[in-house]
């Protein structure tokens, strides 16, 4: 019985993480481990990555956690919810591969994700 419950028990200690790389506008790479379930925005804010303001705290209401996602990753990320594209209209220099990092939830599938941070958030 113990051997059966042990792996579940252990999960409380081994936090599942994914490596996320944030590249700032001045080409500084910051690779950090972000806990699964957090957003790419939260990973940046909690680790003091410069260039992500997240003024509204993740409510998809401000467009100040704007990032560019590399082509190879863009399609692997869950698609935009209603409202995200609307907010991106207000972002600083939006492009085709723009996303709000508060809407990207970290999971095993995103291990290795790279995002580029724009020069400004507004």
């Amino acid at each position: 019985m113990f051997s059966h419950t042990c792996p579940i028990f252990l999960q409380h200690y081994i936090q599942l993480m994914a490596k996320i790389t944030y590249i700032t506008h001045d080409n500084q790479n910051h690779t950090i481990e972000v806990q699964n379930g957090l957003t790419v925005m939260e990973g940046a804010v909690q680790n003091d990555i410069p260039g992500i303001d997240a003024d509204c705290g993740g409510g998809m209401a401000c467009a100040t956690c704007h990032v560019y996602v590399n082509d190879e990753w863009f399609d692997k990320i869950s698609s935009k919810e209603d409202g995200e594209e609307d907010m991106l209209d207000m972002a600083f220099e939006p492009k085709k591969n723009s996303r709000l990092s508060c809407q990207i939830i970290v999971s095993d599938e995103l291990d290795g994700l790279t995002v580029n941070i724009p020069s400004k958030q507004g």
Binding site: D53, D89, P94
Partner: protein, 339 residues
Amino acid sequence: MNKTDALIIGAGPTGLFTAHQLKLIGLNCEVVDNLDKIGGQCIELYPDKPIYDIPAVPECTGEELTNNLINQLKPFDIKFHLNERVDELKKENENWIVKTNSGTIFQTPNVIIAGGVGSFEPRKFPVKECEKFENKSIFYSIKDKKTFEGKNITIFGGGDSALDWAVELSKNSKVNLVHRRDDFRGAQSTVDKVHQLAKDGKINLFTKYQMNSIKGNDQLESIDIKSDDKEIKTIKTDYVLGFFGLIMQLGPIANWGLNINKKTIEVDTEKFETNQKGIYAVGDICNYPGKLKLILSGFHEGALAARACFKLARPNEKYRFEFTTSSKTIKDRLGVKGD
């Protein structure tokens, strides 16, 4: 000159409840906010979004919370100065002299900054050269639409402001409407109207284009817009209007000699006072060990800062803690009958 016991900068939930606390303990106060309405982020960013962590309120929207806070202030006479931004703050003897961008001047021993993440300002074009034409031929809001009569106008944006002005100005001007994608987020009826006007040749519609560069020396001559496929078009235009919504900027607060760290102001947790005597910071804009950016934390911070104001506003009186359930003085201030 407006003399007051305390001046609150910011009319969001924290500023409103701080005003309530000041009035409850018998101090008067005035409130300044750069937005044209009361409510701060709650009303500007998420009026319809439900909030689930206000104590004793299982669920309410940003707008409902704002309206309830305004109702709670009804017993009191509080002057709001909307559409005004505090620009200058100077110490004069025991008082702070505070000036707004509209020229209103306050004299007060206490200034409470409840400024959220700063004041709401229009988002601007990323193209640097736009600055030099700002408020001459590039505008982010319209004060007098007559300026644009008979001119070539290029409007950027996809929300209601951009669409409404495109429709309105197309009556008397040549209007180009530029937006970064095919979909517009404005009201469907206005979107339909814009498409109809485009069909009738009253509006030139450029979708999937963004501002690329701007030409002109003293006078704006033309702009280049660039498509997603890097195709560039030149548009001759007299005026450019950008409607990209609002963003929060710390603004002049940064120049008041306060300890600022990552857009927040350092305070103590007894009075929520900054490094300047008589200046307090409460709500999202303040920072101290353990700070949570929750509305409920702002309420607590405001309540304590209000008590701290008492000492400077009434140096010869002693503040006495009282409950609203039992104090006759407080009930008189609230205009309710004691039992």
